[in-house]
Amino acid sequence: MTAAAPELTLRHPIERFTLDNGLRVVLAPDRSVPVVAVSVYYDVGMRNEPEGRTGFAHLFEHLMFQGSANVAKMEHARLVQAAGGTFNGSTHQDYTNYFEALPSEALERALFLEADRMAAPAITEENLRNQIDVVKEEIRVNVLNRPYGAFPWLQLPQVAFETFANTHDGYGSFVDLESSTVDDATDFFSRYYAPGNAVLCIGGDLDVAETEKLVRRWFGPVPARHVPPLPHTGEPSPTTVRTAVVEDALAPAPALAIGWRVPDPVGDFDSYLGTVLLAELLSEGDASRLERRLIHDDRIAIAQSSYVGLFGDPFDVRDATLLTTQVHHPAAVPADRVMAAVHEEIGRIAQDGVDPAELSRVQARIEAQLLQQADSVLGRTLAFAAAELVHGRAELAGELAARLAAVSPEAVRTAARGLDPGTAAVLELRPAGGAR
């Protein structure tokens, strides 16, 4: 079996410095292709939204593309794309990110664009109304007009957690979105988009000294502001089963999501790694426990997956988070039967442990997946940035394969013991309405 090489992505050396305004900067040079990636991670996500302002982190992300002090509307996109680059942004539970991948000669332009909107985005009534409409269309595409829309990421947290931070709809209610004002947006920007609340990570074809100079030139003048304290989003571990049912008028077949609380992804990282491997062992590929049991042997499911973190990235979330097992099954199979089989398979691991050969196959596969992500300049830059923001160490992204390769069968067994049927959050999706 191939052992994970510790040098894996560490041959991308990491350089870091902090500007006087508090902006943390990470450089990860690698000159093998003339491509550079620029990313800015702000430490504000869906979990930071105030009550009555659901969906605001995401709406604000849209506003950040509407221009800034020296950039007209549509010009952000034009300046990146006309340089041969691509761009995007995304809103997560614990952060909001903005990024570009460009030919390396466009590096300074990307730094200018990010610095300009870090200093002064164009928050206007017209832009706000326009982007509320666009976000509503996004929600219609991804949630309201399709079967299984946002299942289970919008509904399962309501079952699994207690606090507003963890349970509310991160896409936002139309009522909250429509009542948003320019003042709300200005306040949100001023509170959360301080340079000291952000990480700038640049990866790929760059010269460290020259890039540091450019970063200081463009980001240095952004004034320092107060940095809000990190909110506590952890919750006490649940002690009971909680269940809910959602009806989906568009879905042709039922689905089931089971969520278990897992160790603190940051504070208890070693235990957490056992949980990450457990999810892979349960559901990745035809050799996995649940694929064999639910799909091939019992034939009670159409598709299954298990993952850690609400959006499937285990290394970009803070506490509290879940291991989720999601199963689509035929209407003829009762959800209880599926659930019993899942609990039984996890119970088997908790009881008997894991064969080291099986675990090392899973470790080889996860190593290949991490390497594949690291092959893209943008992919590894985003991984470094998330690791710096969430874990305080960009280097961690490069060490993950080696850390996962060192996890023992016993740690995976311990993780399985944590997935107690008596503390699961269960969400059943049932087809309703006229769908055939």
Binding site: N130, D133, V134, N145, Q369, A374, S376, R436
Partner: protein, 454 residues
């Protein structure tokens, strides 16, 4: 639109650094299999793609062929004489690999990533599947039933309903009219039919194996030859028949009662990859709606808020290339959104684009091509697709040079021919009770009942 005004604050671009050009080493095995190996710096991984021509032999059996192909792509992994399904998955997993198998109207593709040390064993396993997949009857039935359920779920997605309706309307009796296999035809598939299909069609002649990544080309070619020389199935590769597309006038409205959005889809022919007009058309499609800086996005998203991600694209199949426009819009603005889309298409066809628009689109296409081929996986998939339609490995370089020479006049000529509203076939999926009348003011509407109630 006026030329982009760049305030002096905006940093100019530096000197571009050329992308390293990958060098493909090509051999053909005695059994007819083409093998293309591309060593590339980067992460210690190898990407593998095996492409087998897999078109229906004629239009009449295209539905059955699509159903059997879809089941075969899952069932080929169910076992051989030597290994069962779990053995196969475990052998691959131990080398970081997981084989994905997929079919469409043109081809069957086996693909995976793998750790470099696993090249020999993974190729041996691939050979075992190619020469000895056993299609065990009981497991084939399970795979088939699961596929039928997955097709039912896919068919409930409005985007899939729209895509299938447009393909059916544009391609009529040609195999490309089939968006998703028919669930009843899938349910009728049995193991013996798959064994026959595999024997007749999974053959080395006409197939192409691409390996990209951390490898030595000579050693890799030897490993491939040793592993795959026993794949001696004889049979004839079948390629897709030519397309004679008829443009269908008017709008087909697929009724989806209660839908909160309408899915607008327009499609027509585009130049093929070997047509000298392709570079100009790609640029026209980009300026119209191919990226965020395009006219369509500026109009119906950033100005009017009608749609989240309106877009256009040029798609290539082996026997037909297509220009496609897609926008999902709120039900209450369906008519106005289609009107603006048609207006922007007409404007592309009748008036010249600006030099600034052309330069921006050109740089974006060149930049995004460089980005998408700057990973092992991206380069392997791109090469497999190009070689599979008969193009040389250096086509990308030629195409990039052609793109740099396109003029404003050529863009307008291509737009007039391919982007004109009169050249396109239209499908809308939405609530007919709410949108039929307003769509009727733009073109005659035919309502069909293909969509489930929303």
């Amino acid at each position: 639109m006026t030329a982009v005004q760049e305030p002096t604050l905006i940093p100019p671009l530096g000197e571009p650094r050329p992308h390293p050009t990958p060098v493909a080493a090509e051999t053909t095995l005695p059994n007819g299999l083409r093998v293309v190996v591309v060593p590339r710096p980067g992460v210690p991984l190898v990407e593998l793609r095996l492409r087998v021509p897999f078109a229906a032999s004629n239009a009449r059996n295209a539905g059955v062929h699509a159903a059997r192909g879809a089941v075969l792509s899952g069932a080929v992994l169910l076992g051989t004489q030597r290994h069962d399904q779990t053995d196969i998955a475990q052998l691959l997993q131990g080398h970081g690999a997981e084989l994905s198998v997929s079919t469409d109207a043109d081809r069957l593709v086996f693909g995976t990533t793998l750790l470099p040390g696993g090249l020999g064993p993974v190729l041996e396993l691939l050979a075992e599947l190619l020469t000895g997949a056993s299609y065990p009857a009981g497991q084939v039935d399970g795979e088939r039933d699961r596929l039928a359920e997955r097709i039912a779920i896919a068919r409930s997605q409005p985007g899939m309903i729209a895509r299938s309706a447009l393909a059916a309307r544009r391609f009529g009796a040609h195999p490309y009219a089939i968006g998703l296999p028919d669930a009843d035809l899938v349910s009728a598939v049995r193991a013996p039919a798959l064994r026959r299909l595999h024997r007749e069609r999974v053959v080395p002649a006409g197939s192409i194996l691409v390996l990209v990544g951390d490898l030595d080309p000579r050693a890799a070619a030897d490993t491939v030859a040793a592993a795959l020389e026993g794949w001696t199935a004889t049979g004839k590769a079948v390629e897709t028949p030519p397309v004679g597309e008829q443009r269908v006038p008017g709008i087909e409205l697929v009724d989806r009662p209660g839908a909160v959005q309408s899915n607008l889809r327009l499609g027509g022919l585009a130049p093929s990859r070997t047509d000298p007009e392709l570079p100009a058309l790609r640029l026209a499609a980009m300026i119209f709606g191919g990226y965020f800086s395009s006219r369509l996005v500026e109009n119906i998203r950033e100005r009017r808020g009608y749609s989240y991600s309106p877009r256009s694209a040029v798609e290539h199949q082996r026997a037909a290339s297509s220009f496609l426009v897609e926008a999902d819009v709120a039900t209450e603005v369906t008519g106005p959104a289609l009107l603006e889309t048609l207006y922007e298409l007409g404007r592309m066809s009748l008036t010249p684009v600006t030099e600034a628009e052309l330069d921006a689109a050109r740089r974006y296409i060149l930049g995004s091509m460089a980005l998408s081929t700057s990973t092992h996986a991206g380069l392997a998939s791109t090469l497999s697709a190009l070689l599979g339609v008969g193009l040389p490995a250096d086509w990308l370089t030629t195409h990039q040079r052609d793109l740099t020479e396109v003029t404003v006049e050529q863009v307008q000529a291509a737009a007039a021919r391919y982007l004109a509203p009169e050249a396109l076939t239209a499908v809308v999926v939405g609530d007919a009770g709410r949108v039929a009348a307003e769509l009727g003011t733009l073109a005659p509407v035919t309502v069909s009942g293909g969509g489930d109630p929303a």
